[in-house]
Amino acid sequence: MQKYIARRVLLFIPTLLLASVLIFGILRILPGDVALAILGQEAVEGGGGYTETQIRELREELGLNDPLPIQYAKWAWSMVNGEFGGESIRSTEPLSSIIARRLPVTLQLTVYTVLLSIIVAVPLGVFSALYQDKWPDYVLRMGAILGQSMPNFWIALLLLLFMVTQIGWSPPLGYSNIWVDPFHHLQIMIWPALILAWRFSAYMTRITRSGMLEVLAQDYVRTAKAKGLGQQLVVRRHSLPNVLIPVITLGGLEVSTLLGGTVILENLFGIPGLGQAIVEAAVGRDFPVVQSLAMMLVFFMLGLNLVVDIAYSYVDPRVRYS
């Protein structure tokens, strides 16, 4: 097992390299000049102008005049030496501190969503399968299809609109750490988590349902019934563990889609997570921040896939990695 994990982690390296080249390259293709942006903003605030020399000096200072391979090498080295890509061009805040502040928020939102979805989706999927083609099944399947077909940002906007215009309540603007003010924290986190969970649990309900139907038709379920076990034991002990195998695999893959959703919802609900930071930085052409945060997301996905594979070996005794 340790060997397997070590090998998988080693295989991260080529993936990370490729992802870093892509992220770096895309950002250089984007139009817009950060030096101009900074000077322009200063000029507006200060009421003056700026000169060609100033632009050249600032570009030199920011390292933007170096050849691209050198810029890439500098960035890549700073990713591994613990600086996580240096500091923000705009705020000069070190990236290590940005990540330490922002990553936990996004992780929390993801964890809430996944937990909510599992708690809701697995029982509903089982229930739906047990009532296959009867009205509870139809109702649940309709709800699942709705949840899967409506875009997150659209539901979020409708919800915000409804709350503001109809009940005169909007989620708090400031964010609180869960350890400092749990109630306030949940007040702001619950809505995006619910919206994300609707979509995610819709998907999970569907795969749980189809997995359950498949398992219920297996010979070993017939054996369990022939032993005289009741419905509850047949489902809980003999069927559910077998259903979890596809659910974990497909659910793990779907978390990548979920991350896309968190980027949008963090912005809509003013949640200071990685997603919000990436969008802000991209708008301000803050290359180091976008690069490093995008790499964090890549790293997060790789780690998640590894966790899914390890979880697999616990659920399915036939899979033992060597």
Binding site: T223, K225, A226, N242, R318
Partner: protein, 335 residues
């Protein structure tokens, strides 16, 4: 010895796209305590469905038991509540299935799959259940039983898995064991071992066995009496000797004629039964075997013959002409 099981006019149907399929169409038979009964027929003749019907394990939908009585130890199983039925399944009536590779749960240990039955039906504590499971595995000839309890099914071979299935089936000392093609998926040498095991253990425990198979060799060797099924009905019944010496139904005669035998010299090609088993949703009005029967006449086409015998013996057959047939010439009686 008394009668353990009486099946009266059992009918099981399935809904299919082309109509209602009468998989079991008025089957009646009885079984003495400790007896071994063979239930023989081609694939799709209703033999497995009739066994699953006894335990009321027909998946519904699409199937349902539409009529009949199954009197087991004096009570009609068809009238029991689901809860009462569960206390009989795996306890008084146990079943072994055809596919040892898929009949055990892949994610549960052998130990868990063994202990749950005795915990459920006999109220054993977890420790007692483990002790009992070790005994059972030793009884079915699995070496190193204690350490194998923590193994998973994929760590066993097909024959070993079927031994585990037998251990599970016999764990509560059932009165009746249904062996549904229990050895069909196994190698020939393993088949013999498993059948011997079932025979010895059922004799030891006084368990009656219904062997469901299409393998006439198995039935000849292990069954006391034989029911031959065709198109959802029993078409011939007798002792194993009677069936083998003087089969009365053309279908049984065809089946026996198509078994290759090493104890008889023959130069001709192996005989076969012409045609295919009929669609159970489109049965002809008379005898179901008419389309494949070389002896059929208008009487056969018009009316289904009852299961009876001309001379009033226990060897009964559903054929108007059955009494005309003599001993099957190819068959030399086996010991």
């Amino acid at each position: 010895m008394g009668t353990l099981l009486e099946v009266r006019d059992l009918r099981t149907e399935f809904n299919s796209e082309s109509g209602i399929v009468k998989a079991v169409d008025g089957v009646s038979y009885d079984l003495q305590e400790g007896e071994t009964l063979g239930l023989v027929g081609e694939s799709g003749c209703g033999k497995s469905v009739s066994a699953l019907s006894l335990l009321r394990l027909i998946p519904n939908p699409p199937g349902r038991i539409v009529g009949g009585e199954v009197i087991f130890e004096g009570q009609d199983l068809m009238k029991l509540t689901e809860r009462q039925m569960r206390s009989i399944r795996g306890n008084k009536i146990a079943m072994i299935f055809q596919e040892p590779m898929t009949s055990l749960n892949p994610v549960l240990t052998i130990g868990r799959q063994l202990t749950e039955t005795v915990e459920l039906h006999m109220g054993y504590s977890p420790e007692a259940a483990v002790r009992r499971s070790v005994e059972l595995l030793e009884m079915v000839g699995i070496p190193d039983a204690r350490s194998r309890l923590s193994n998973y099914p994929h760590q066993f071979s097909g024959g070993m898995r079927q031994r585990v299935m037998i251990a599970i089936a016999l764990s509560c000392t059932p009165r009746l064991l249904l062996a549904d093609e229990a050895t069909t998926a196994l190698d020939v040498t393993i088949q013999a071992q498993i059948l011997e095991l079932i025979k010895n253990l059922s004799t030891e425990l006084g368990t009656a066995v219904i062997i469901i198979t299409h393998n006439l060799g198995v039935v000849a060797r292990y069954a006391d009496r034989v029911n031959v099924m065709y198109a959802g009905k029993i078409i011939e019944r007798g002792t194993a000797d009677e069936i083998y010496e003087t089969p009365r139904h053309p279908y049984t005669r065809g089946l026996l004629g198509s078994v290759p035998r090493l104890d008889v010299d023959r130069e001709d090609r192996l005989a076969s039964i012409e045609g295919m088993p009929p669609d159970l949703d489109r049965l002809p009005p008379g005898c179901s075997f008419v389309p494949r029967c070389p002896h059929a006449d208008d009487h056969c086409r018009a009316e289904m013959p009852p299961l009876s015998s001309k001379d009033g013996t226990e060897h009964v057959y559903a054929c108007w002409k059955g009494h005309e047939f003599g001993p099957l010439e190819l068959v030399q009686t086996q010991a």
